[in-house]
């Protein structure tokens, strides 16, 4: 298709915390600065900036992208903010990718930020406005409803137990104990702890859910001829995909995310991947809830429908397993500052594939990984395949 190769050459992130002293702009700047420093670049080298941040309602600022622009170094540069709900964090690097793949720019800064603590007392209430204002909102829904409804449908369709789903939360939180930025890393958590946690919206319990957080992540993308000058270890973006399902979420199959499948197939085709279960060495599926990681692994064609939990039961998903899942600790462990959480997965693949993930390093020189995010009203899938 005449597209240029694009590499990730640098990455930076802030700690993910429940409430950060820094403002959204300050977090954005800190992640951006760290990403630039990691590849010894300055803002002068950056030709365009892509920013991802989720709903304006969290910050209470209309046109939040423009508000955050100084923290992202966007002044006097082509600048664009993208937003596809929770899918934003993996969409914004896709946007950066096509800026470069198209030949329009050579070096792009991609930054994702979320400060959820500003919404007081709890960001949960901001989510009410994602439901249809006439046919759903008068029922006073909360965001947990749709996850609980989808989780129940998923469990019941395939006969999966709560105890098995809890393994996801346990593995991710254990993995996060090795992440220096993690909010909820817990090395000694057990399935019983998850099953004994507060019931919020059955079948969803406290430990099935990722925490609202503040944080920012940034990566630097470069065209091939620049990337090879900057680093010996560029990590290539080999495939991208994104796809949207219906807004009428009560009209579709809640047990299987077909939109994630379509996004994944688009990315696999671009990357030349025929057998994802053999060719993907690390998976970072979106895991705001534990069952969602399973749901998404199936959508990504990394497990048969209803069988993703077997990867956790037989150890395949463990950090030293055949296909580690969320070695970062994921949203369940590192935290869930919406847009930043998705881009954290891209940063994790960058570090893992370069062999720079420290205590979290997956053994065996992994060559290829996939990151995926999901969002809007249970309807968007965004996928990036990365390799070295």
């Amino acid at each position: 298709m005449g597209m240029r190769k694009v590499a990730v050459v640098g990455a930076g992130m802030t700690k993910f915390v429940r409430r950060a002293q820094e403002t959204a702009k300050e977090l954005t700047w800190q992640a951006s600065r760290m990403a630039l420093q990691s590849c010894e670049m300055t803002m002068d080298d950056i030709e365009a900036v892509c920013l991802g941040t989720a709903p304006d309602a969290f910050d209470g600022i209309h046109m939040n992208g423009e508000y955050l622009s100084d923290g992202a170094g966007a002044w006097r540069k082509p600048y664009m903010r993208s937003y596809v709900g929770g899918g934003t964090g993996v969409f914004v690097p896709i946007q950066g990718w096509y800026h470069i793949a198209s030949g329009l720019f050579d070096v792009v800064l991609v930054v994702a930020e979320e400060k959820m603590s500003s919404y007081y007392p709890h960001a949960q209430a901001a989510f009410l406005t994602i439901f249809d204002h006439t046919t759903e909102r008068p029922l006073k829904p909360n965001l947990l409803w749709i996850f609980a409804l989808e989780m129940n449908r998923y469990m019941s369709t395939y006969g999966i137990s709560k105890a098995d789903i809890a393994r996801v939360s346990v593995l991710h939180k254990q993995n996060a104990a090795d992440h220096p930025c993690a909010l909820l890393g817990e090395a000694n958590i057990s399935v019983e702890d998850v099953l004994n946690s507060e019931v919020l919206a059955w079948p969803v319990q406290r430990y099935d859910v990722s925490p609202v957080s503040d944080g920012a992540v940034a990566v630097v993308l470069a065209a091939e001829h620049i990337a090879k000058r900057i680093t010996d270890k560029p990590i290539w973006i080999e495939g991208v995909g994104w796809n949207l399902d219906t807004s009428y979420w009560t009209n579709k199959d809640l047990a299987y995310p077909r939109y994630v499948e379509y996004a994944a197939r688009m990315a696999y085709e671009m990357a030349g991947i025929k057998e994802p279960r053999k060719e993907i060495h690390i998976a970072e599926p979106y895991d705001p809830f534990d069952y969602k990681a399973l749901h998404h692994l199936e959508g990504l064609q990394l497990a048969e429908r209803g069988k993703a939990v077997q990867l956790y039961i037989d150890g395949t998903a463990a950090r030293d397993g055949n296909m580690p899942v969320c070695p970062s600790g994921g949203l369940l462990g590192v935290g869930n500052p919406i847009a930043a959480a998705g881009l954290m997965k891209i940063a994790e693949l960058f570090w893992q594939l370069r062999g720079e993930a420290g205590a979290r390093q997956v053994p065996g020189d992994p060559r290829r990984g996939i990151a995926q995010a999901w969002g809007d009203l249970m309807q968007v899938g965004t996928v990036v395949v990365m390799g070295r």
């Binding site: 802030t14 820094e22 007081y120 029922l139 009209n251």
Partner: protein
Amino acid sequence: MTSNHHAFPGTPLSEDEFRQGKILFNHDRLNGNFAWDTGIAIGSYLAGLKEGYLSGSRCAHCRKVVIPPRVVCEWCFRPMDTYVRLGDTGTVNTFSLCYVTWDVQRIIDPEMPAVIEIDGASPGHGILHKLGEVDPQALHIGMRVRAVWKPAEQRTGAITDILYFKPTGEEETR
């Protein structure tokens, strides 16, 4: 890079530090008041609710009946041809027992949101509503339910004209 980078930016604050005013903050309340036009398709849906029935729209090309009704078919992008009256009974597609309200207040008796596939709509086509007059422990996917309506004089043409859905008690086929 995390292996050779030990100091990450970001300063966590505890909720106590915040509440006790150890840091400065500015509190504000946004004023957002809206009056949404119901439009053509949802307008007809709400008119039906006021009369005491549920309705959907039908695409003759795709042979689909969807609820709530809409003016355009998502599959073929042709106009939806007709609005059709549906039953006020259905089948529980999925449900939850929710112990927190929309603003995260804890409650003892759970709310029971559900997706209910409405009789007369195409298979798998449901709406979000709540269940009532049912033992939470007896609730299950596949349960047959019927709408419990507000009295006619209290109906305003809103989704809340249905109070909730309750079990019909009939034999289940799946």
